[in-house]
Each structure stands twice: as C-alpha cells, then as structure tokens.
C-alpha cells in the first residue's frame, strides 16, 4: 500500500511539470501580444521593444523556456506583466480566498446534500420525495450566475441583510478578532450559498440513488429479516456504503472549486483563482497563466490524492485489493 501511494506521490511533480510545460508553449503560440497592453499612440514605437526585452519576450522560445525552468528551481514563477509583481505573490493573494470559498462550499454542499438525500429516502415514493427530486433537478440545472442574481436581489437589495460583494467590510481591520471572523462569515454567506446550492442538489440526487441501490443489497435484507432497527440499518449499514461514492464526488467538486469559480468571484468581487486565470489569459500574461496552471494542477492533483487516501481508509474493499 505504501508503495502505491509513494508511486502516486512521485508522479505528482512529473505530472505538474508536464502540464505546465505544455501550457508554457501553448499560450505563447496563441495569437496576441502582451506588450499591446502597455502601448498607446503617445508612446514611442521603441517602447514595445524595450518592454519585450524587459519581459524576456525578445529571446527565442526555447531560451525563454530554459530561463523559466531556472526560475522555477529558484522558487520563482516569473513576473506578471499585468499585475507588475512576482507571479508567486499575485497567486498568493488570490489563493487563500479561493481555498476558503471552496472549503466552505464543500462543507455546506456535503452537509446539505446528505440531509436532503436522507429526507428524500425517508419519504421515498411520497409527494415530499417527488417535490425534493424535482426541486433538486431544477436547482442543479440552474446557472450559477442566475442563482447569484436571485440571492443578491433577495438578500442584498430587498432585505439588505447580506453584503453583495467582498470578503469583509470597509475598515474590518479595525474590528476585534471575533468581529473580523464574524464579518468574514457574514460576507461569505451569499457566495458560498450560490456555489453550494447546485452542488448540494447534485450530491443529494447522487446520494439518494446510492442509498436506494445500497438498500437493495442482500446484507440489508438479512439485517431486516433479523429485526434490526430501521434507523440502525440506514445509518450503520446503508449510509457508510453509499457515502463511499460521495468521497469521489466531493473530491471532484472541491477540485473544480479550487481551480476557480469565475462567475461567483466576479459577481461577488472576490479575489480568486478564477478571476486571475481569466485576466491572465485575456491579457496574454504568459508567466501568470503558467503560474496559475501550476497552482491549479497542484491543488487538483493533491485533492485527488487525498480522495484516494480517504477511499483507502474508509473502504475495506480497496484496502483488501491493495493488500
């Protein structure tokens, strides 16, 4: 088993390196010139060449690549043309917000997903089950921006209870630690809800069908025939089996949340990886694009890795396969 995880661990840097190398070349082969950002009719034509020199864009592509490799090994990912700062520092500013948003969303969507799935199973084949199923399907298919719009109109415009943007109030730095934490939580409610609502609906539907499948297994029939309490059957026998598949779903959800929730970040003005990646691509900010890809790959692959470990720990069948 240790060998399996060691192999996966060793493959990670290679995978990240391969992905970022691919992106390094692809983004440079796209049409568009990053220097255009800085030009205007009042600037001398020579400025474009000076900027290309300053950004290292006047060198052959392979030289740029080798220089970039050298930078990576010194802990730098280059210099962002758009933000005029180190790529590491730019990503460092966006990452905490993305991680916080993703983790909070995952917690909410898993909790709500489990609760809804259990409620649906409890009232299986009843009107409540059908209502929950239809409502879940509708919510799951709703575009994120539309949910955000409804929440903002309802909670920020109509009732003005939650703020419509940012991670904290103006002058939040002057608050006490507890006040700051509450202020932060108050600001995160709408963006987290926006992302968690469709996620929870999806998870509920998935978990509901997993629970129903698991409840048709022979061990459940045996337990029932032995007169085991229904609650115990559900929570001790069916749910642990059904939840195993939720780990995969949660891992995928967290992976995509960590690589950026562009629309939510834009609407709620949150600094995050989604906004950063889009800005970098549109402005042909090559070092930042590659830096974002590295960060996103690291996060995505790490989440997958953790998912595998959790699977191994909670599912004895996987443990037995590897042993």
């Amino acid at each position: 088993m240790a060998q399996f995880f060691l192999k996966r661990l060793l493959a990670l840097p290679l995978l990240i390196f391969g992905t970022s190398t691919l992106i390094f070349f692809i983004i440079r082969l796209l049409p568009g010139d990053p220097v255009l950002l800085f030009l205007s009719p009042s600037f001398p034509p020579a400025l474009a060449d000076q900027l290309r020199h300053a950004f290292g864009l006047d060198k052959p592509l392979i030289v740029q690549y080798l220089l970039w490799i050298k930078e990576v090994f010194t802990g730098s990912l280059g210099y962002s043309f758009t933000f005029q700062r180190d790529v590491v520092s730019v990503i460092g500013d966006a990452l905490p917000s993305t991680i916080a948003l993703a983790c909070c969303t995952l917690v909410v969507e898993v909790a709500a997903g489990i609760a809804l799935a259990l409620a649906s199973v409890r009232f299986h084949h009843s009107t409540a089950d059908r209502v929950l199923s239809v409502a879940g399907l509708v919510t799951y298919t709703m575009p994120t921006f539309w949910i955000a719009f409804i929440f903002v109109q309802l909670f920020s415009v109509r009732f003005t209870v939650f703020p419509s943007s940012h991670m904290h109030s103006v002058s939040a730095d002057e608050l006490s630690t507890a006040g700051y934490v509450f202020d932060y939580a108050w600001h995160m409610i709408l963006p987290v809800a926006t992302l968690a609502v469709p996620g929870a609906a999806g998870m509920a539907r998935f978990l509901r069908s997993s629970i129903i499948t698991a409840s048709q297994q022979k061990y459940v029939t045996v337990a029932r025939s032995m007169g085991v309490d229904e609650n115990r059957i559900l929570y001790s026998y069916i749910l642990p089996n059904a939840l195993s598949s939720m780990v995969t779903l949660g891992g995928l959800s967290l992976g995509s949340l960590l690589t950026g929730a562009l629309l939510t970040e834009t609407i709620f003005a949150l600094p995050g990886m989604g906004r950063l990646i889009v800005t970098a691509i549109f402005s042909r900010d090559y070092p930042l694009v590659v830096g974002c890809v590295i960060a996103a790959s690291c996060l995505y692959i790490s989440v997958n890795f953790c998912t595998d470990i959790i699977h191994y720990l909670i599912d004895p069948r996987i443990k037995r396969t590897h042993e």
Binding site: P31, G32, S40, P45, Q84, V90, A94, S169, P271
Partner: protein
Amino acid sequence: MSRNILFISTLVLLILCGCSQKKNSSQQTIIVALSGDIDTFNPLYTTDATTQEIVELLYPSLVRPSIDTASGALVFTPSLARSFVYQNGEKDVLFHLRSDARWSDSAAVTARDVKFSFLRYGDPAVGSIHQEQTAGMLVAANGAPDIDRSIVVINDSTVLFKFREASPSRMFDIALPIMPAHIYEQIPASELRTHPANKTPIGAGPFILASWKPMQEIVLHPNPLCVLPAPAKIGSLVFRIIPDLQTQLIQLRNKEVDMVMDLEASDAAALQNESSVRILSIEGRRYHFIGWNNIDQQAYARSKGKVIAPHPLFGSARTRQALTLAVNRPALLSALLSNHGTIANGPIAPFFKNAFDRSIAPYPFDPKKATELLAQDGWKDTDGDGILDKDGKKFSFELYTPTGSKFWAELATIVQKQLRDVKIEMKLAKAERSVYWQSLLEKKFDAWIAGFEVPMELRMEGFWGSDLKKSPFNIFSYRNARVDSIVNTAYLMTNQSDATRSWKEFQQILHAEQPCTFLFWEDRLIAVNQRIRNTDINRLHTLYSASQWTVSEN
C-alpha cells in the same frame, strides 16, 4: 431545539455584525467602486488612467493641470513649484519649489528628487511608458535625450528645465509625478518594476496609502504632512474593486459605495429616480468610429509593408463619404447612448475650443445621396442580386468587433442593417480582444468598430502620421502629406491663431476624406451619492479634487 437556537443566534449575530459595520464605515469614509485593480503604485509604470489618477493623489508634481472652462484650454498651476518663469525665448522653465514640502516619511522634497524622477522617466533601461515626455529635452551626441544636461539643480528649491524648442504643451511633460530619490536611487533600473518599495509608496500628496488588498480594495488616508495644498479633508478614501457593473450599481443603491464611474446610458436612466444619487454627465474624450482600411492590406502584408495600394472597397474618399452618409448616426446616438454624447466630425473633441472647427456640418443620414456617390465610383447592382458590384467584385466585407464588447456588437448590428439598405453586404465577425487589437495594428481587417480616447494634449501624429511604421495607431492606414505636416507642427506652434488655423484645416481634410466614419463622442456618466460634496469632476480627472471632497452630515 437547541441546535435551532444556536443556528438562529449565529445568524442574528452575523447580521448585527454586518449592520454595525456598515454604520461605522459610512461616516467619514468615501467609497469609490473600481472595476479593476491598480497596476502599481510606482508612477514610472502606471498604465491605465485610473491608476494614474490614484498615483497622482499620492505623489507631488511641479504643476497641476486644470481646465479653463471659458476657453476649454488646459492651464497649469504651481503645486510643488511655488512659481515658475519661462526663459530663453520660452525654451527653458525655471521652477522655484516650496521649501516646506515633505515626503510622508518626513524627508524634505527637493530639486534633487525632481531631477532624479526625470532621469528615471527618460532612462530606456527603466522602460517607463512616460519616457516620451522627456523627448523634447536637450539631446546628447547619439540623439537620445540628455536629461542630466537638461535639468539643472541650482539649489534644493530651484531647478531649471531646458528644452530644445519652445512649445505651448511643454507643461504636459513637466507635470509628471515626482518620486522620492532617497527611496528609489539605490534600486537598479532593472529591478524598479518589481521592487517591494512599489507596494509601500512614500509620497507628498494629500493622501497616503493606508492599505492595499490586491483585487479587493485600496484605502487612502489623509497625509498629515501634505502642504500641496493640504491634507485630504475626509477620514479615508476607499477604492473597492468590483468587476461587475451590476454589483456596483446594487451597492450604490444600498449606499455601500458612494461613486460608480463609467455608467452605461441605460443604467444612468435607471438611477434617475434614486434620490440619494446624482448623475454627472461629463463631455467625453472618447470617440467611436467605424474603421475602413484605406489600403489593400493583402498587398501590404505580402510585400511586408512595401506596397501601399488603395483598398479595393474603401480606397476612394467618395466611397467612404457614401458610407458615412448611409449610417444614421443621430439614431445610433439616441438608441445606444440615450443622446449622452455628440456626433463626431473628426478626432478633435468639441471641448478643445481653440482647435475645434464648428463650421463643419456633420454628414447627414442620406441613403439616396450615398447611393449616388457609390454609383459615381462605379458601384452598381448590375446582376440584380441586391448587392452592389464593380468589375465583377461585390461590395461585401466583414466588420470586426472584439469579443465581450456588447456596445460595439449592438452598434455593428444596426449599421449592418443601414448599409444593407444601400445594397452593401456587411458580415459581422468577432475576434478575441488581444487578437483584435493586434490585427488592427497589423492592418489585417477591412473594417471594424473601435474607439479612441484622445489625450488632453493635442497630439495627433501617433494616430494620423503617414509613416505606418512610426505611427502604428494609424490603423486606417490613412496617408496625406498635408495632414503629416500639420500633425507634426501644429502642437508646437506658440502662436494660438496659427495653431487654430492648422487644426481647422486638419479637420476639414479629414472630414472631406473620411478615413473612417466618425460616429460620436461619448459622454462619461458618473453616479455619485448626494452626501459627497465638492466633487469637481471634469473631463481631465475624476479624482482631481478628491482631497477637497467632504461628506455631508445629512
């Protein structure tokens, strides 16, 4: 039950926390919504207009520009300079600096800082976008500006600027922000762009940087040491980065922000009934146009810029006039901008009162006349397919807009219909924004819709010079020797009536030759909360008077 109580109490706490915070922040704080973050706090590298305005609130400058409302001309008043006098036939300017000006770290602002700043602006190794503003200084043997010789520090409070020739727009070059030499002189030119000092600016303006949370907010506080002219009057000025305009408007209505810049006309109309908001409409510096490629871009590209032949569709001035006559510009202005703008006749804005030619009547919307002019150029529908043709070639082309520009896309759709009425087939095409601008600079498109924001200094050679390599922003590839002569000399003319005559002739030539279809000048619409007072917002600056802004108690 206890869980429910816990949940409800947490929710109530969160809401209370939020409400109390909102009250605290609303008192002596003014919050301005920005759609994008600042590039840098180093004035050497500021690129966009808002960044420059924020940087100007932090750093001193020798003189500050303002607008003389009577003449529309820019006037420069001393700021860090106590006074200035022209010498040597107005080629040189002698500045006497204020002796009481201090950087925010208490060091004195001296003439040495002034010279140091301009040495950095002009150094090609620094790569400042403002280096062209040192181009008028004395030159060295190799032809490069010799800033060391051009700026003479006479003593701590006296500095002399020497230029090669007199120019009425000289003060534009001198009004750059001054940087603290004691902070930046130890930093090598190659490291200036990324140096950590750029995040903690030391200035001498009315504000100091209190905090900057990238992609979130910039907080400025009054600079207690400022004497240029005084510390800001409000408690703090906060710029919140809100990329989505609709979110900005919601926050304006909720009084979470006090100012939203660059509204769309439809948003301004929707805000008219908001009692807490007033809408400022400012004569714009931005004009929109339909660009026609005046030259055969394929021949130009094949020959690597050596062959310059007229464009097969748009090479004739008469055809271009016809195209302008076929476009209903008043209807476009009304439909798209709710008349927040004026029809454009050329690239000189009406507010340049000394240069704008009021005698030029705009081309009317006249499809019949357009058809006649096209026929005179040989464009007729000979095969009856509803599209004009000449020598077997149809009058059919693609018009490009950048992706993401809803305004230009809507404009293009209306123009397509109007041109169809004179039997011209215009297909709509889109290009990703970066590709779009690169293609324009490489003259790859036949036709496109774009807009230019004109500088306050009347300099047109970058847009209209015939040397397409030296004037890359002449994206129309328009070439006219007389226009060359005017754009290269008029801005240097010290005699105002000579300059006026030249600029009027320039506009008459462009009006006759229609290198593009000038559409309209777009007014800037800014929404401000009524509680903000003394907002002297003009076409030059939005934040110009921010240090004078106050908050009404009511």
